[in-house]
Symmetry: D2
Subunit: 338 residues, 4 copies
């Protein structure tokens, strides 16, 4: 950590800072420039609250040289992690293809969609039973009945299932029925939920929040990892942007940047990122080309009757065609869907 | 609601849309232009999921003409609401001055800060007992012990107290000690928490999320209102921006826009919005000038020893000076701190 | 165009609007809903200024159903345009590989870089002679001397050359030396420059501005097209974002969206988009996978001695490797570098 | 300037950096931490291109401790500048009230608007003769004929006039007719234009670009100042945001931040920032409360007939009422309209 002092800082102020550093069992190295004095901190800076240092009189800025996350960092774990969900592997050259409807709506619909996505090549089946909806008047999900339907479809077609958790109080029942959890974008900084998910023994997809930086995402992953759950898959699903031509702004460079910082697998979700079926295929291909470890696509056989998010789903034949092309792109990079 | 069809839409597709509208007990009015056909929907559009309509083949775009929130709207409640917190009133010309430390840290510190902010003019005392921190390694708050300290300070100096709720499981104990709840920006779309807060009988400050539109904020308020809790105060505290010169981007026009859409009081939080003590006073004055019903400022008597967010707090004498100027600005607009 | 009126609009206000529409030789079709009245405009809406309509008393909102650009639209020209620059073709399955240094710095350096990028597979050579720099104290480019160096390198290695134009007064001399012009992001809405470039007979790369929507970009292209220059290639080079982990925010979905709206070729510039050499290769692959018609990469043989933008350049061997992988990705999509 | 090296940096790489610093006549001070080595640069860092340093192998990050602008900085000129435009003063407690139509449309209309804004209290009259329009099919301004109309109105009502310059080739004729120039947001980084405006002897309003940081704005001001024109007034007019409820995002904290960095006057433009007449008054009050040195408001007596930007103009009586309230807010801060 480097502490940059203001030009008019007094010796007493410098001393207050260096004594504080010493009280944390670290060493302060003062360097006086022509215009500014800087203090280099020698020691494990992850233990220091940079905001606190910034509050000392005379401090102009504080620059971290090490990331504030540890368990998620590539330095701590230089080999890519491989997360196993049933027989599906994610990471280290193994790609996930997560597909299914936004919401679980009925046994028949889920059976039919599960059948089609599995036969097209999906290796994880998705479906929401607890839905975070912006309107209190919208369909909020089928709850436990939905979980049972999802489990049955997964068992029948031999494909692991993932579903979203929105409330720590439902975690136990969800873990009973699902092979993988999902923490949605709106809960990415619901630290209470992250802590509980960290105590569970079930793999989890952690979606990036709409205003989250890459570092924010890694700090949220750190919450889960710090509790003992090492099976975290990150997911880029679009951040907030100024152009309404797509629902969100698909940040493909963040995927490439994440691969330079963390050992955790990273998948992409072009359904939520774009909100437009016609843009899902090209954005899915771009995700794999940028180095993602998998793709998440919503699939529905009758989008106009979907109870949520119909406009961002592919029809089963569109999904099949997209997956075939995804396999070809993956091959260029020496990767394959497990 | 207006449904705009694609130029190549077939008659069968138009019929599918109009039959769906009819099935919802509404009337569809088809209007054929030179280039495009549009369908006007006559009826209560709040019952329609516009995403579902967008999923019909042949539909190009869907435009709502009425807001998707009802209880929060100015049309439903044309008079400004006045929220009462102890003897403090917010709204309708009555201004809130919420002040106090970011976190409750000790009995002595809280007592001293409470004494000073109350004597300077604050009419609500704040302090966090459960802290949402981006790092799992940062101080997470004192919990119930903190609540007791806050309550004691509020009682001693006769000032109502507000504190943040991050977990529905703590709601009961928080309501026991606090006069007002706060839902933080990171939980603005934690719909589970909003629903529970809506069942409580305690007034609540709902902070705008960093990627939330004004409409998103009103939809989150609607979650609380729909459960019966009518005492909601909205709070602008900065959204995500591209310039790191301030921590967040203080959206003062959103305050003015909210006053044209809702009867709920709106306050501003220049501490979180700017993250810079030197910008808090001018941004506070701007908030009142833009029509806000109150200001939220963090105050700490020793920012460099604060356990969280020291850099965004004013010192007690700075707060006193700022408040005196705020009173003068308020007077220009015929408002006063109650 | 659809005009949505406010709920309390009077008959006189409706008449004022419909008479204005009639005065423009178009038809107004009034449709009265339960809550709102809407006016459909039948005729060529590109002739109407929607801002003007919004200013009529009683008007709540105006929705365009047709795009405000014509010449750039896919409807006007359903086949993809192919832009020829010397012997290089861009569009319709032909990919551009634009490579070279940010600035032209010396004859030797340009010769060496031109030699290496051409032998690696580049089909257009870039180099800046007039540099738009944020600081008045930075290197501003070699001017005409630079143009001569660029021309000589292009001739020697038989590769067409592109260079940026920042001032209409230099246009003539630039057209004398260069095969293709570039309008940079900061000049994307310099309408004076666009108009002059539109009068030139030289193909042009138009870069997207950092705060430009996809529609803004197409409107700027329309400026050039409307003057008669049909050889416009659009370029996504990153927009403004909130995460400093990349210099700009690479909007790959915009590339896919553009392909649904326009016949003009679209290339990507991962150098400016990311500002990080390690992210250039994955983001280049993603660009082609998303449907781009080419890639723009800065290449420098000694980035630490570059007079501008060193940190976003690839070294010649890195460029060679990246290009080989790009060719494989292109093949998956049935495209090739011409 | 502080150079942070990567953890695996070699001694040779460190030497390459320090020798480069020495070659620029500055001193490098190497400090070896437990995890990272840093190099402090002692000397005038404004002469160093931080991008170039970043390109050296082994360099992780470069942190400036001094701003890259000099003439615009408060350190260089600790007293607030006062810019004089005719008899109007801007800065140092003197407030500007710039008002008038978006475009100059006719002699009668300009006369009538000039009369009304002057009598309401405006001290600078605005009107556009050269209009930067996003569509090539929109009204582009009256040119020299418009300048003559503006000049005549200014002379008749004894009020200085400001108009936009979009093309260096028109600068001479504009300076002949106008008392003050305006560089619009879209040209804020048109460095060619800034350089020419810097050579003129006429005061200038420099509007912040929609994706410009505060530092970008100051660097653009530096371009003008470096050429000798010291009469620069900065203008916040809204940046790009994600919520379409306002046209742009009014960044009031940037005004307060600018006052801590520069001696140049700063005014606000709530017309362009919000694009909504109902939000102009509260946002204007907020601007003065935040410390702005003036306000820019568009005024039109018949917005629905305006040839550009009608929806963001106030009617003359609304302007009069707004100005009266602005005077009261100004008084609270000990300022007045000159």
């Amino acid at each position: 950590m480097i502490i940059i002092l203001k030009s008019e800082t007094t010796e007493d102020q410098i001393t207050a800072v260096t004594e504080h550093i010493a009280s944390l069992d670290m060493k302060a190295h003062v360097s006086r420039g022509t215009f500014r004095t800087i203090v280099g901190v020698i020691g494990d800076e992850a233990c220091i609250d940079s905001d606190q240092i910034k509050s000392f009189p005379g401090v102009s800025d504080v620059v971290r040289v090490l990331p504030p996350y540890k368990l998620a960092s590539l330095e701590a774990h230089p080999q890519p992690s491989v997360v196993k969900v049933g027989s599906t592997k994610i990471g280290g050259g193994n790609l996930a293809m997560v597909a299914g409807p936004c919401s679980i709506e009925s046994e028949d619909r889920m059976d039919s969609i599960a059948n089609s996505v599995k036969s097209s090549g999906a290796n994880i089946l998705r479906g929401g039973a607890y839905k975070p909806r912006t309107s209190p008047y919208s369909f909020q999900g089928m709850g436990v009945d939905g979980l049972k339907i999802l489990r049955a479809a997964g068992d029948k077609y031999d494909i692991p299932v993932v579903t979203e958790v929105t409330d720590a109080r439902n975690l136990e029942v969800i873990c009973e029925y699902a092979d993988m959890l999902q923490v949605g974008a709106r809960n990415m900084q619901n630290f209470v939920l992250l802590t509980e998910v960290g105590k569970a023994n079930t793999p989890v997809i952690l979606k990036r929040g709409m205003s989250a930086t890459v570092q924010d995402l890694l700090m949220s992953a750190e919450y889960i990892l710090a509790q003992g759950n090492q099976n975290v898959v990150l997911c880029e699903r679009g951040i907030k942007g100024f152009d309404s031509i797509t629902r969100n702004l698909y940040d493909i460079a963040a995927v490439a940047a994440l691969k330079t910082l963390t050992h955790l697998p990273v998948i992409v979700d072009p359904s939520h990122a774009t909100g437009r079926p016609d843009l899902i295929p090209p954005c899915a291909y771009a995700g794999i080309a940028a180095g993602a470890d998998g793709v998440h696509i919503e699939v529905h056989d009758c989008p106009e009757k979907a109870l949520s998010d119909g406009p961002q789903a592919l029809l089963p034949p569109q999904f099949q065609e997209t997956f075939q092309q995804l396999e070809k792109v993956a091959k260029v990079f020496g990767k394959s869907f497990s």
